[in-house]
Structures are given as C-alpha cells and as structure tokens.
C-alpha cells in the first residue's frame, strides 16, 4: 500500500514549454549526480586506504571498479526516483526532478535504473571480484527495497537504518581491491552511517513542511523538533568519537587525528547550538546541515591525503 490515509495523491507537474522528450541531461539527472559524486569520493578513499594497507591492484582495474560503483550508485538513484515519484512531486526540493516534471516516464526511470544496476554489478564482477559485486548488488537492493520501499514511508528511523546503503561504498571499494571487508573498511562505513541521521534530520528541521506535505515520517514530524534536536546532538557526539577510530586502529596518523578531532568538535558545537536554539532553530539547523557536508568530505579527504603521502614516501 503506497499511499497512507491523509497522504496526498501524486501530482503530475509539467511546466515545460519545450517538447516533453527527455534529453541526455534528464537521464543523467536521474542518477542523482551530487549523491553519486559523494559515493565516488568515499569509495575512492576506501580503495586508496586498502592500497595503503598493502593491497595491490592495477590502476586501470581500480578505475573500472570505481566507475562500476558510480554507475551502481546512479542506478539506485534512478530506481529511487521511479519509486518515490509521488513524494518527489509534492516536495519543493525534488519537484524539479525529471519524473515529477513529466519529462521521463516512471517506467523508463525504472527500466533505466534496473538496466544500469545489472550492468554495474556485472562490470564490478569482471573488473574486481564476486565479493565486491555481491556487496554492490546488496547496496542497490538495500537502498531500493529496504529504504525506499519499506522504511522511508513507515518509520522515523528510516534514514538511520537506510543510511547503511549510503555508507557501504567504501566497503564495496575495499572489497573490490582485496576481496575482503576488514574492520578498517567497516570503520569508514560507521563514520558515514553515524553521520547520516544528524545530516538528514538537520535538513528535515528546516524543510519540515516539505516532508509533512509528502507524508514522509521524518523525525521532526513524528517525535517533534525538541526530541529530534536531542537525537541529533547524541548522534553528533557518537560521530565525533567514531571519527577518531581510524587513528586508534592504526589506519590513520596524527594529521588525521587532528583534523577529525577539530571537525568532530565543530559538529558537536553546531549540534549543541541547534539543541539550545529553541523555536528559532531553522538557521542553526541549516548551518549544521551545510557543515555536515563539509565534515564528511574533509574527514575522508584527511584519510586520502595521509594515505597518498604514505604511498609516495
């Protein structure tokens, strides 16, 4: 049952003056390029970390594997846009996507996503190994079935559990290079996994109307703003501590430790600021959301820089 009582029915939005034939850019937009770029970056870091850990892989095969992971991430995005077309059509943030705009029919988005999913898993199996390919297939399945189809519309814990899909790319990449997924890969997973709730709840705090209109049970709409801010703060503290873990398991050095400690400190401070902001919390939530993107990028960049320096010394 896709539409809960009280949930708006899909609204077909077509504000085009141009003919309603999709061009290459519309199909590219189905891949959620911004999400894809973050996936590629975190996967690349996982791959370089595995090489710094002693793994050896021909550069061309590593590039092909990274490409396969990117296509898999894009395929998940297209499948998500197919399934969530009704939600996307009532949210200001997503109303401009190709399916709600009426440029790409839902069935085409599904076919495009399904085709690219199969292609990406097959390519990863060819360029690396079956472990990585199976992990990529599981990631796509988890994002579409567990997150999009099940959790997103049924529980405010949707992005907590669903966040696993976005956290898996470094593990997939590590497995692509080594054929295994050791604890170091899962530490990178844990950082993204713990980062996801405060990131999306900060977004939900200042976009609460959007989610309420779409009937998506995000934490602020279900548990209230105060409870959400408390949870954001709790996750931020755990994230700040987890961010230090790469140093303590020996996969990162003092440079990383200093960067992670500083980033974690700022994250906790901004979460605390949001917690104490009372009813006028949208500005601080927006600030936290913006910083969370910088945080994830910078913490993975610190791992990457240290590993690249180590590989060239």
């Amino acid at each position: 049952m896709r539409h809960k009582p009280g949930m708006r029915q899909p609204v077909a939005i077509s504000s085009m003056s141009a003919p309603d034939v999709a061009g290459p850019q519309d199909y590219f937009d189905l891949l959620k390029p911004r999400v894809m770029s973050l996936v590629v970056f975190t996967a690349a870091v996982g791959m370089v970390a595995a090489v710094a850990d002693g793994a050896r892989v021909p550069f061309g095969l590593a590039l092909a594997s990274l490409f396969a992971i990117a296509v898999g991430a894009g395929a998940s995005g297209a499948l998500n846009m197919w399934w969530d077309a009704d939600i996307d059509s009532v949210m200001a943030r997503t109303v401009g996507r190709p399916v709600p705009r009426g440029v790409v029919p839902r069935a085409e988005a599904a076919a495009f996503g399904g085709f690219l999913s199969a292609l990406s898993v097959a390519l990863l199996a060819l360029s690396s190994n079956y472990v990585a390919a199976a992990l990529l297939a599981f990631t796509i399945f988890f994002y579409l079935v567990i997150y999009s189809m099940w959790l997103k519309r049924s529980t405010p814990q949707n992005i907590v559990i669903g966040g696993a899909a976005g956290a898996l790319p470094p593990v997939v990449a590590w497995a692509a290079v080594t054929g295994t997924a050791p604890v170091e890969a899962w530490i990178l997973f844990a950082i993204i996994f713990l980062w996801t709730p405060p990131h999306f709840w900060a977004l939900a705090l200042y976009r609460d109307g959007d989610y309420a209109r779409a009937g998506v049970p995000m934490m602020p709409n279900v548990a209230g703003r105060a409870a959400t801010k408390r949870q954001i703060f709790a996750y931020s503290v755990v994230l700040a501590v987890a961010g230090l873990a790469p140093y303590f398991v020996g996969m990162a050095g003092p440079f990383y430790l200093a960067v992670a400690a500083a980033l974690g400190g700022v994250f906790v401070y901004l979460a605390f600021k949001t917690l104490r902001s009372g009813d006028e919390d949208k500005a601080s939530a927006k600030q936290l959301f913006a910083f969370s993107i910088i945080h994830l990028f910078a913490i993975f960049a610190a791992v990457l820089i240290e590993d690249l320096v180590a590989l060239h010394v």
């Binding site: 141009a18 003919p19 309603d20 034939v21 999709a22 061009g23 290459p24 199909y27 021909p58 061309g60 095969l61 092909a64 490409f67 292609l119 390519l123 060819l126 360029s127």
Partner: protein, 45 residues
C-alpha cells in the same frame, strides 16, 4: 524552432548518447578483459 523540430533534435541527442554509452561500455569491458589477462599472466601459473 517548432516543438516538433525541438522534439526531433532532443530525440536525436538522446539516441547519440545511448549509442555512445553502449560503445563506451563495450570498450570498458574490452579493456578490463585485457587488463585482467595481463594481471593473470603476470601472476604466473
């Protein structure tokens, strides 16, 4: 330019993109196969 012409142009661009995508995939599979053969040969029997 009329809507029909725009639609035709858009469809043509899409078809070219599909063609390039398929050709690119074939090329990647070919290159990956060669690289894997090289890696396996280098690893020895």
């Amino acid at each position: 330019m009329s809507d029909d012409e725009l639609a035709r142009k858009q469809r043509r661009r899409r078809n070219i993109a599909i063609g390039l995508g398929v050709a690119g995939f074939v090329l990647i599979v070919y290159l990956v196969t060669i690289l894997r053969m090289q890696a396996n040969l280098a690893a020895g029997p």
